[in-house]
Symmetry: C2
Subunit: 334 residues, 2 copies
């Protein structure tokens, strides 16, 4: 195992998967059958009434908090927090509406906290969510000094007819890739091991792109043709299999690598590990009928979100082929 | 400033209040006028439709995580996490329904994590909530080893006619106090400074009592007579002023102190500081019409939740008088 793997950076995807598998059994209770299965498990979908469903999700920003702290740049990570949640909600077809934050720190640094909260408020503006609550906790001895962690919680509105399940994904459908703004907020523990120069570490700070507005617009115009949306988070391209494990993907025209990823490859990150951990330039993938794929990509680009048709769904179960890099990312961790 | 104050323990209520005050201005956005004012700000109340409202809250368990870690007792703190959120939701009149957790740790300890999650699931059972989602994050360098932090997010159902605002609280109404099970999950940083013997520290581990079922039953039977509910969290009796800052309270018959509080008083905790930081034996206060107060207390006791009429609402604005201890807890931090 080399330095360039996520495991070696102290984060174990396998350990996490094992935990989650045992958890599922544990937390299952009467009443769970009320939940609706949204694509990829990106959000829990709960029917308040037959006609009125809500989607809920929670997420954090990982060790990006350490980079933010190192450079004293806290506004962007507030945006990241909202982005991680809002981009998950849209993957099940929900419209993000409400957000709450949890901010825990050793000793409250008021100015730092306000910069964070301004970022969260700015993210909520971008995602058209209301920031309706939050908790600020001083926890000396858990966090060192004014170090902190953040958790976000988001609720979205979902009409039953808009639920995206991923079950209609079929070979021949196209994959529209939407450009990321950078590393977003996943894989930071590995990235921080690879990048040591200050100028490189600064690349990590770029806030996560929030896809809410252009995606809701795409769903409004082309909803019937959209079969799945995958927010490319930790696990990289393996997120595609969250939508549907029974198909494969040929990504013959991937989005260009951003400088932060080129840098990591140059520093020894194996390309396959890169695509299994990071978004590598594609922050969101949309599975669309062939007939509408170009129109969807054009709409996104017109809205200022670079996107193009990056490939198609295949019957090569559990495989994402990237011929340009001569690699195949498989479903199960090798 | 002595060791026995919360400030000296590294947690500043004033700093927190200052932060929250500046925050309110910051996060206010168009759309916030849609929110309904629930008593004490215990939860955000959002109208999905005119007839269907939801209440939302988030909370953590503070530095109780350190005590749990020290003794390797993680089940109870899962219950605490749910309790802190669920007990807040009922204060605005909501029925808790859905829960999500955020669990961040340096290196995932699968067995520890499962014990935690079992506790969370048990808490959700007690509160009749569904655990619908969560996030588990490995964050080396933010958390040391398998140390961790937890955040909870809870959603409740609320019919508009059930909203409790605290605005109808008037002098003469009674205060029904409901016994706590221990320190619950607030003031732990101070308690951990005071208590050093292992047997004393173990007292801190007792999980927070979850008041959901008996309170919902009280609201069903005596709802029209209930004017406010205060979950006694950080800030101790000052939580009463969250309901209504224009009145005072005479607590002539307080609930008995539990051993954990007696111990801290014996170790030098000033009694006033105790009532300003801890629940001191009363985990929930219910403001009720005089005519129904005894019936409410009896119902709670019959359900296995020790409770009695501890006092009444007065016109002594901003003062909680405790004649048995010859102290007065005031609204503003002295």
């Amino acid at each position: 195992m080399t330095l360039s793997s996520y495991e070696a950076a102290g984060v174990s995807v396998e350990r996490g998967d094992q935990f989650v598998a045992r958890l599922k059994h544990l937390v299952k209770r009467p009443g769970h059958d009320k939940l609706k299965a949204g694509a990829g498990g990106y959000a829990a979908v709960y029917p308040l009434t037959e006609a009125r469903w809500i989607a809920l999700t929670t997420d954090g920003v990982g060790t990006k908090v350490l980079v933010a702290h190192q450079f004293g740049q806290h506004h962007g990570i507030g945006i990241d927090l909202v982005a991680m949640c809002a981009n998950d909600l849209i993957c099940v077809g929900a419209t993000p509406t409400l957000f709450l934050d949890y901010y825990a720190t050793g000793t409250l640094n008021v100015e730092m906290g306000l910069a964070l909260m301004e970022g969260i408020a700015a993210g909520c503006d971008q995602a058209d969510m209301l920031l309706v609550g939050g908790e600020t906790a001083e926890m000396p001895n858990v966090y060192e000094g004014d170090h902190y962690d953040l958790a976000g919680f988001a609720v979205g509105d979902l009409s039953p007819e808009n639920l995206i399940t991923g079950t209609t994904i079929r070979p021949g459908q196209r994959v529209v890739g939407v450009a990321s703004s950078g590393i977003h907020s996943n894989g930071l523990s590995l990235a921080r091991k690879l990048l040591t120069e200050e100028s490189d570490l600064r690349l990590l700070l770029e806030p996560t792109r929030i896809y809410v507005r252009p995606v809701l617009s795409v769903l409004k115009r082309h909803g019937a043709a959209v079969h799945g949306l995958a927010h490319i988070t930790g696990g990289g391209l393996r997120n595609l299999f969250r939508l549907n494990p029974d198909v494969g993907f040929d990504l013959t025209h991937p989005l260009p690598l951003l400088p932060v990823f080129e840098k990591m490859l140059a520093l020894g990150l194996p390309v396959e590990e890169g695509f299994k951990t990071f978004n590598m330039g594609m922050g969101l993938a949309i599975i669309v009928d062939e007939s509408q794929a170009q129109a969807v990509a054009d709409d996104l680009a017109a809205a200022g979100f670079p996107a193009h048709v990056v490939g198609e769904v295949t019957d090569a179960r559990g495989q994402v082929r990237l011929p340009a890099y001569s690699i195949t990312v498989t479903h199960s961790t090798p």
